[in-house]
């Protein structure tokens, strides 16, 4: 009995090549790429030996794009065209970003006619750019770095996002990856990635908190680690709070100290850069000097003590404690039940942050892994597993969705459909009815957030279910289903029960890009030449088809005889033959169609295999194996 094979659904019977996969930490300040080589997770350096790629993109009039150190070096000189901390703009409208008067950019409100909101855009010398395009430039540099370093195409990537990112921000990240030609295996929450790197390293058991303060985002996740399962119990955070805000405090203080007002873009960027340097200096010095020469020749020379810096940033640190209390309440835990606190993100180097966390949890936080690298390292480990390169130790990650998802009901109120901290993937359905006689359409407004009023929540999407048969008010039965996938992305469908009328949408948030927009950006993209794109698409399709053939072949060998009758086997074999035939030619669309057919043909088989695996799971020795 091939019980072992069944209980290991990912295990391919035939030995196959190592599939190149990487983890990418797309950070506010710095981005990194890491991979697993010979069983060890390591960060990939650029040719000068640097791991951290500054998340800075500069557009030039000639149409070239600089990313990283080169762009960062010119940020004060060319502040308008040099985009820093673009992550703060992902999936965000201008109103969300708040005070932009201190930012040197020329913002453009999105102008799509059919949208009331839209993601903000930036006008540069090379044209108007979406934050998605800017992020894609960063991802592209990391992709090239990885391909060079590994010596081959990537099967896929795991990209990390702040746990508290909402649907719009996640979708924007996924779009950026698509634009950079990356196959996203999974969007992974940053604190969870850190926990993987940490937990697997230390073989820890118990309940841990991950405190992740990055350049622009703050997350707190409470995880339970036991027997190879990482289970997120609760997560909370603030997706607009990070190291940048500390820089900004120093910057404002500098303006006040020096009686400065209304600085130009150049001077603003210069002082922000100096503010950040001062912040970093104060990590292990009790005093520093901030010096700069402004464009009008004015000399700035201001001393700043650790004490003053702590005082001016006290409420920023305090703002991170509030989400911690909430996460603990959601997990129904007290601070003293936390076995360890893992510190992640460059901003946790600040001594006042470490002290506040230590005071709150009444224990010294764990800082033995590099807070800048730990997220990328964890993402690489997950990418390696997801790509099918399994190692001996088998483990599982169970994550949650950070924010409640609801629907607008009468009176501008929110009805929650999926509560926050639900383990994903998840689905919930709710029934609604018409409120007028003869009502034939119903509009569905999808919102995300914890507040009661729709206007206080984030509007994700609106769609209409039309063609409801006219009935008296309250007679129609409209079932709205929300589904969150393993990436934390939402899709919504609505169905009128009596007529089986279905309306299904994958929620593209109002702040997101439409598929057309992504396609246009791909076409305009300087990242690839057109021919390159086509041959790449063909190659990817061929690889996918070959992998499918291999996987179906293995499955048939294992279970074909026992689970399928002759007719069903013949049907699958016929679909296999079609895929084989189309692989002879270089027709991408034909291969794609044949692959889709084979997938369709094997669906009942896949279900039968899963049934078998599930019914075997809770009998016999599998449980005791897991206990060991």
């Amino acid at each position: 009995m091939a019980l072992l094979q069944i209980s290991e659904p990912g295990l391919s019977a035939a030995p196959h090549q190592h599939r190149f996969a990487v983890g990418i930490d797309l950070g506010t300040t710095n981005s990194l790429v890491a991979t697993v080589r010979n069983g060890v997770s390591l960060v990939l350096n650029n040719e000068s030996g640097h791991a951290l790629l500054p998340s800075v993109v500069r557009y030039t009039a000639e149409g070239s794009v600089q990313v990283g150190d080169a762009a960062q070096a010119l940020q004060s000189e060319d502040p308008v065209n040099t985009i820093v901390s673009v992550k703060r703009f992902m999936g965000r409208g201008l109103a969300d970003v708040g005070d932009v008067s201190n930012l040197p950019y020329r913002f453009v409100e999105a102008s799509s006619a059919d949208k009331t909101h839209g993601m903000l855009q930036l006008r540069t010398v090379a044209g108007v750019k979406s934050p998605v395009e800017v992020s894609a430039e960063i991802l592209n540099v990391l992709r090239l770095r990885a391909e060079q370093s590994l010596g081959g195409d990537l099967v896929g990537v795991v990209i990390t996002v702040p746990a508290y990112f909402d649907d719009a921000q996640r979708q924007a990240t996924k779009d950026a990856a698509k634009l950079a030609g990356l196959n996203v295996l999974r969007l992974l929450n940053e604190p969870t990635a850190a926990a993987i790197a940490y937990g697997l390293d230390n073989a820890s058991e118990g309940i841990y908190a991950v405190y992740d303060l990055g350049g622009g985002t703050f997350d707190i996740s409470i995880l339970k680690l036991s027997k190879g399962v990482f289970e997120v119990l609760a997560t909370n955070g603030d997706s607009a709070l990070g190291g940048d805000d500390f820089d900004h405090r120093i910057y404002c203080w500098l303006l006040e100290k020096n009686n400065l007002s209304a600085l130009g873009a150049h001077d603003t960027r210069l002082l922000l850069t100096r503010a950040r340097a001062a912040k970093e200096e104060l990590t292990d010095h009790i005093e520093t000097r901030i010096t700069a020469i402004l464009s009008n020749g004015e000399m700035i020379d201001t001393p700043l003590t650790q004490q003053d810096f702590y005082a001016m940033s006290k409420n920023l640190v305090g703002r991170t404690l509030q989400p911690i209390r909430r996460a603990l309440r959601d997990a129904e835990l007290a601070a003293d039940e936390i076995k360890g606190v893992v510190m992640v993100g460059g901003s946790t180097r600040m001594p006042q942050v470490q002290r506040a966390v230590a005071d709150f949890f009444k224990q010294e936080p764990l800082t033995n892994l590099d807070p800048d690298k730990v997220v990328a390292l964890g993402a690489a480990i997950q990418a390696n597993v997801l790509a099918g390169n399994r190692n001996e130790e088998d483990w599982l990650l169970l994550d949650v969705s950070p924010l409640s998802l609801g629907i607008e009901i009468m009176g501008g109120l929110t009805e929650k459909i999926i509560p926050r901290n639900s383990t994903i993937p998840t689905a919930r359905a709710q029934e609604f009815t018409t409120y007028k006689d003869g009502q034939t359409a119903m509009s569905v407004h999808v919102v995300q957030g914890e507040r009661e009023l729709v206007s206080d929540c984030r509007s994700l999407a609106r769609f209409e279910l039309r063609g409801i048969p006219p009935m008296v008010a309250g007679a129609a039965r409209i079932r709205v289903t929300y589904q969150i996938d393993a990436d934390g992305l939402l899709s919504v469908s609505a169905r009128e029960q009596s007529s089986d009328l279905e309306s299904h949408i994958v929620v593209k948030p109002s702040y997101g890009l439409s598929d057309d927009e992504v396609a246009r950006m791909l076409q305009d993209s300087t990242l690839y030449a057109r021919d390159d794109m086509q041959s790449r698409a063909l190659r990817e399709q061929q690889v996918e088809a070959q992998q499918l053939l291999e996987a179906v072949g293995n499955a048939m060998e294992q279970d074909g005889e026992t689970l399928l009758n002759e007719e069903a086997r013949a049907c699958i074999h016929a679909a296999i033959d079609v895929v084989r035939d189309t692989l002879q030619n270089n027709d991408q669309l034909a291969i794609k169609r044949a692959v889709a057919k084979l997938n369709e043909a094997t669906l009942p088989f896949a279900q039968a295999r899963m049934d078998k695996s599930v019914s075997h799971a809770l009998t016999g020795h599998n449980i005791s194996e897991l206990d060991n």
Binding site: R325, I424, T426, A486, A606, L618
Partner: protein
């Protein structure tokens, strides 16, 4: 062609290999949840064909739904009553004993007062007391469902628990407000 496998239709208690009772072994539930997710979770199928990924997503969703349902006592009670064909009538049956309603009003006032005074210590105290009341209702449920099989009476207790569930939510949002 069948739409879903036979196992997919089974009730949550069978899915988790637990007896269909109100009182269950939570540790065992957790353990079985992990065993099942290890089999079906999408992370185990990312490199496999789309058909298998789709089935995995459906199963993982169902296992999560089952786990949520069985883990929370009030949801477990509701579900068990549904299996026995008893409607809890939480929306339609609003007739509650007067003393119960009076007590509820006192609770509400207590929470509101604590909120106005921004007193999280008082809120904590209310929270503790509330949990005790909830616990004793849960003990009643065990008695009614597992020992006496008196499901209509159990439905009445679920309706009471629903009031307490709302109170828990109110206390939570009061904590949040005090935090802000």
């Amino acid at each position: 062609m069948r739409s879903l496998g036979s196992d997919f239709q089974q009730d949550f208690f069978s899915l988790f290999n637990l007896p269909a009772r109100f009182q269950i072994d939570i540790t065992l539930l957790e353990q079985h949840f992990r065993v099942l997710q290890t089999q079906v979770h999408p992370d185990k199928f990312t490199h496999l064909p789309e058909s298998e990924r789709r089935v995995s997503m459906q199963w993982a969703t169902r296992v999560n739904e089952g786990y949520q349902t069985l883990r929370k006592p009030i949801d477990r009670a509701r579900y068990l009553l549904t299996l026995h064909g008893v409607d809890t009538q939480e929306e339609t049956n609003t007739a509650m004993p007067v003393d119960f309603l009076m007590q509820q009003m006192e609770w509400r006032e207590g929470v509101e007062e604590a909120l106005q005074d921004k007193d999280s210590a008082v809120l904590d105290e209310l929270n503790q007391k509330l949990r005790q009341d909830v616990k004793s209702l849960q003990e009643q449920l065990e008695q009614l469902m597992d020992k006496q099989q008196d499901y209509p009476a159990a439905a009445g207790v679920v309706r009471k628990l629903k009031f307490f569930e709302k109170l828990v939510e109110e206390i939570d949002s009061a904590f949040d407000e005090i935090d802000d």
